[in-house]
């Protein structure tokens, strides 16, 4: 077995020198990376502009009146009209959109129609909550997916693989909302070890905050676990059976080195691609999970803004979640550059 090879490859001068020469040789190829980042960053404003136009138009065609929503059903028509005039909701759609856009790009996001508070305060506060919950879910999701995928790859086509596959596929078939309710019944009602309300009065105690966020984080993570674990499993199996793996083994690398330098890196390439998309979704907030657990995240806020036709809050909220998603994709591209040399070569060309 090659796994018993004692040769300390990574400590030999030859090895160090070889890596140095390789990087030196690749320097020119790396010059394409800033261009890639610049290109992606330039695309972001255009994407957000298109999204903002779509949102403004969609809100316009949905029934409802901002003034009526703000003042309630018992306000008179005159009161509603006065309110709309005071808040700039008169005139053509184009005029109102340009007025909003001008304010948004100059940092004046306006006041929420329904809450009467600065939209920036509401959104950035909620964004922080969503980032926290998304990060917590991410921390639970990634190791779980890698572990389960690795276990499946190790026992490929054997009982553990089949059991995990069936379990994860079953989980994937159940809606997030139902999983959340089941978790609430088990952990909050029956066992009473975790709270139902993820936004209770926990003061500054981070442990209590973590405790309150655990069920929504697990619910979020479970929603993505099946596909991600499957991706890890597939990547790992493909890497283990690939030519470069065989070559690495035959040239005498230790098992640890083979896995670290060849298997893991290649196995994670498709996984990282998926993680980038998931990261954007997780950090942008999940309306379903936030609603179920009463978690004050950005997703739930955007849903409320949509229901109440709070265009100020909705536009700003969508811009921020869009930005988060686009930055997450950019981060994914950068990760690709780090772990996959082929991408660097392509960009350099």
């Amino acid at each position: 077995m090659t796994t018993s090879s004692p040769r300390p490859v990574t400590t030999t001068p030859t090895s160090r020198g070889s890596r140095g020469r390789g990087l030196e040789a690749l320097r020119e190829r790396h010059s394409g990376i800033p261009a890639l980042i610049g290109k992606r960053l330039l695309q972001i404003p255009f994407v957000l502009l298109v999204v903002s136009i779509l949102i403004y138009w969609l809100v316009e065609i949905v029934p409802g009146d901002p003034g009526r929503n703000a003042l309630g059903p018992y306000a008179t028509d005159e009161q509603v009209l006065l309110w709309n005039q005071q808040h700039g909701f008169v005139g053509s759609v184009l005029e109102r959109y340009i007025h909003w856009l001008g304010g948004f790009v100059t940092g004046s996001w306006g006041e929420s129609i329904i809450y009467g508070e600065p939209a920036s305060d509401l959104i950035l506060g909620r964004l922080g909550n969503s980032l926290l919950l998304g990060a917590y879910a991410f921390v639970l999701l990634v190791p779980a997916a890698i572990a389960l995928g690795a276990v499946q790859a190790y026992w490929e086509a054997r009982r553990p693989d089949r059991v995990i596959t069936i379990t994860l596929m079953s989980l994937a078939a159940i809606p997030e909302f139902v999983i959340g309710v089941i978790l609430l019944i088990v952990f909050a009602v029956v066992l009473a070890v975790l709270p139902v309300h993820a936004a209770g009065d926990v003061g500054d105690n981070p442990l209590l905050r973590l405790r309150a966020m655990t069920l929504p984080a697990i619910t979020l993570a479970l929603g993505y676990l099946a596909v991600l674990a499957r991706m890890v499993r597939t990547g790992a199996i493909e890497s283990i059976t690939a030519q470069y793996h065989r070559t690495a083994v035959l040239k005498g690398l230790t098992t640890g080195e083979v896995v670290r330098r060849h298997v893991v890196r290649n196995a994670l390439i498709p996984t990282v691609s998926l993680l980038g998309i998931y990261l954007g979704t997780l950090l942008g907030g999940s309306a379903v999970v936030e609603t179920l657990f009463g978690y004050p995240g950005l997703g739930a806020l955007i849903v409320t803004a949509t229901e109440k036709k709070d265009i100020v809050l909705l536009e700003a909220g969508v811009m921020v979640t869009g930005l988060v998603a686009l930055l997450a994709l950019l981060l994914t591209d950068l990760l690709f550059l780090v772990i996959d040399p082929r991408v660097r070569f392509e960009e350099a060309k």
């Binding site: 029934p63 409802g64 009146d65 009526r68 929503n69 703000a70 003042l71 059903p73 018992y74 008179t76 009161q79 006065l82 309110w83 329904i114 809450y115 009467g116 508070e117 509401l122 909620r126 639970l140 190791p143 779980a144 890698i146 572990a147 690795a150 276990v151 190790y154 309710v181 909050a188 709270p195 139902v196 309300h197 936004a199 209770g200 009065d201 926990v202 003061g203 105690n205 442990l207 209590l208 973590l210 405790r211 966020m213 655990t214 283990i240 640890g256 896995v259 670290r260 298997v263 936030e290 609603t291 179920l292 657990f293 009463g294 004050p296 739930a300 806020l301 409320t304 109440k308 036709k309």
Partner: protein, 508 residues
């Protein structure tokens, strides 16, 4: 092959997955102390919170716990003294003089004065006011001014109105300091009520502590109140089951999901009615026989059982809540009578649509009517935003042929002014009857009991016969409450009862 690494990865990841949630569940992370805090689940009001303008129930509660009005109602519908210690009418019934409680303080330590009362009601009734409370005083209150001494306020009326003190229990009537600027209440949540708002986080919670300067502080036995925002009814139910909330509405959904014997069932008087508003200006309900046939086709007890889970009383199409001091006499109680329906319809089939934001009510009513020969009913269930969208000339709730809308408890004359009066803003029935309006004005002026009874009978008979609005039920506020809560609420937690916590305590 990579067995050692796969195994290591699996072990490390599973350890992390186990440790993080377990750490979160550790005993050190037990919930914050909420022993003497009364916890209520609410929906996100989705609106600004200002005592002068709040219209949504949840927003009213957020502001109402801090505020204090002049007068409130108890569960029996009787007037109770709050910031007003006395109220008397002049001989001609055109002026009501209110005496402001001596020694009452706002939560910033300043005294509540007659000038504050005057300023509050001037703000509510101002021409540019967007207060939901304004409508209650339209056509009734002419002016408000300080009285002959520093402790009294004179309300001058347009016409005599014997139920005027009841109007002072209305929405948005909590007293605010003179000079109060609307729109900044959350930054400085001023009020003279039972609690002080310690924190409010949009979409999350509102936390209150007992106001030590409250004029009746000795009667407030809880240390505070916490309102927790739930966007999902299922989550709210689970939170109640888990002991995170102290009360939940006793709806059919909640009662069927809970072991009711583990909780106290509390009833705190009537809180609303769901009216079936028939547009009398268009077919098919411009035909009185169709309106009457519909009224006789409804299984009212079925609505009580299936919509309210028993927390309502059968009503008789007249707007006198059972706890109103004067009750109509001599009207036959309507109940489902298919013979009368057949007689009135005379072989016709009446097709119409039920428009509402109350899905359960609409579905139950549709099922009932579908079983009655002569009715062909479709549903048009809207979200609240859609139902109340648009101005009065187009909004569904005021223009559909048949709409179902809930109304909070008000005085009978208020309902006539708002719902039945010719051209009234919320006259969803497009109804007009000068005789009814004249009788209502006469009732408001009358002080003799026999005369008042006679006028109530006249008004009720017109409502019963004309059927601009079918009133099948009066809804009671029935709740399930955690057994750690002792004592009884004076009434529903609503503006007309002043959100009173007097006599309620928590014993763990």
């Amino acid at each position: 092959m990579a067995p050692p690494l796969a195994r290591s990865l699996a072990v490390a990841a599973l350890a992390l997955l186990t440790i993080v949630p377990l750490a979160a569940c550790s005993p050190a992370a037990d919930a914050a102390t909420t022993d003497d805090v009364y916890r209520i689940g609410i929906l996100d009001p989705g609106s600004d919170i200002d005592p002068l303008t709040v219209a949504d129930y949840n927003a009213q509660l957020i502001a109402g716990l801090v505020g204090e009005g002049l007068i409130s109602l108890n569960a029996e519908g009787e007037l109770e003294s709050r910031l007003a210690t006395d109220w008397t009418a002049s001989d001609d019934g055109l002026t009501w003089t209110i005496t402001v409680r001596d020694g009452a303080l706002f939560n910033d330590g300043s005294p509540v004065t007659a000038a504050d009362v005057v300023a509050t009601f001037q703000a509510i009734t101002a021409d540019d006011s967007v207060s939901a409370g304004k409508s209650a005083f339209d056509g009734i209150l002419a002016s408000v001014a300080e009285g002959t001494d520093a402790a009294t306020v004179d309300f001058t009326l347009v016409r005599p109105f014997s139920d005027f003190p009841r109007l002072l229990t209305g929405t948005n009537t909590a007293i605010l300091p003179a000079g109060y600027e609307p729109g900044n209440w959350l930054k400085n949540p001023i009020g003279a009520g039972q609690f002080v708002l310690d924190s409010y986080t949009v979409g999350e919670s509102a936390v209150y502590s007992k106001n030590p300067d409250y004029w009746n502080a000795d009667a407030i036995k809880v240390d505070g109140v916490e309102l927790k925002v739930y966007a999902d009814v299922q989550a709210k139910l689970l939170a109640f089951q888990a002991g995170e909330l102290d009360r939940i509405e006793a709806t059919s959904d909640t009662v069927s999901a809970l072991d009711v014997s583990q909780y106290n069932t509390i009833t705190a008087g009537y809180n609303k009615f769901d009216g079936i508003f028939l547009n009398t200006s268009v077919a098919p309900f411009n035909d009185p026989t169709v309106r009457e046939a519909l009224a006789w086709a409804i299984d009212r007890q079925g609505l009580v059982d299936n919509v309210y889970n028993g927390t309502a009383d059968v009503a008789n199409d007249v707007l006198y809540f059972p706890n109103y001091p004067v009750q109509p006499e001599g009207l036959e109680q309507r109940e489902q009578n298919l013979d009368k329906v057949a007689e009135l319809l005379d072989g016709r089939t009446i097709s119409f649509q039920i428009t509402t934001d109350n899905q359960l009510y609409a579905e139950v009513l549709q099922q009932q009517l579908s079983a009655v020969p002569g009715f062909d009913v479709e549903l048009n269930v809207l979200t609240s935003e859609q139902y109340y969208a648009g101005d009065n000339s187009v909004t569904p709730w005021l223009n559909a042929p048949l709409s179902i809308t809930n109304w909070a408890v008000r005085g009978p004359s208020q309902y006539i002014g708002l719902i039945f009066q010719t051209g009234a803003d919320w006259n969803a029935s497009h109804y007009s009857n000068p005789t009814l309006e004249a009788a209502s004005v006469a009732f408001d002026s009358a002080t003799d009991d026999a005369e008042r009874q006679d006028l109530v009978n006249q008004i009720a008979t017109i409502q019963y016969d004309d059927l601009a609005v079918i009133v099948p039920t009066f809804s009671r506020a029935e709740l399930l409450q955690d057994k750690r809560v002792k004592g009884e609420f004076a009434g529903p937690l609503d503006f007309y009862t002043g959100y009173s916590f007097a006599g309620v305590s928590i014993e763990d």
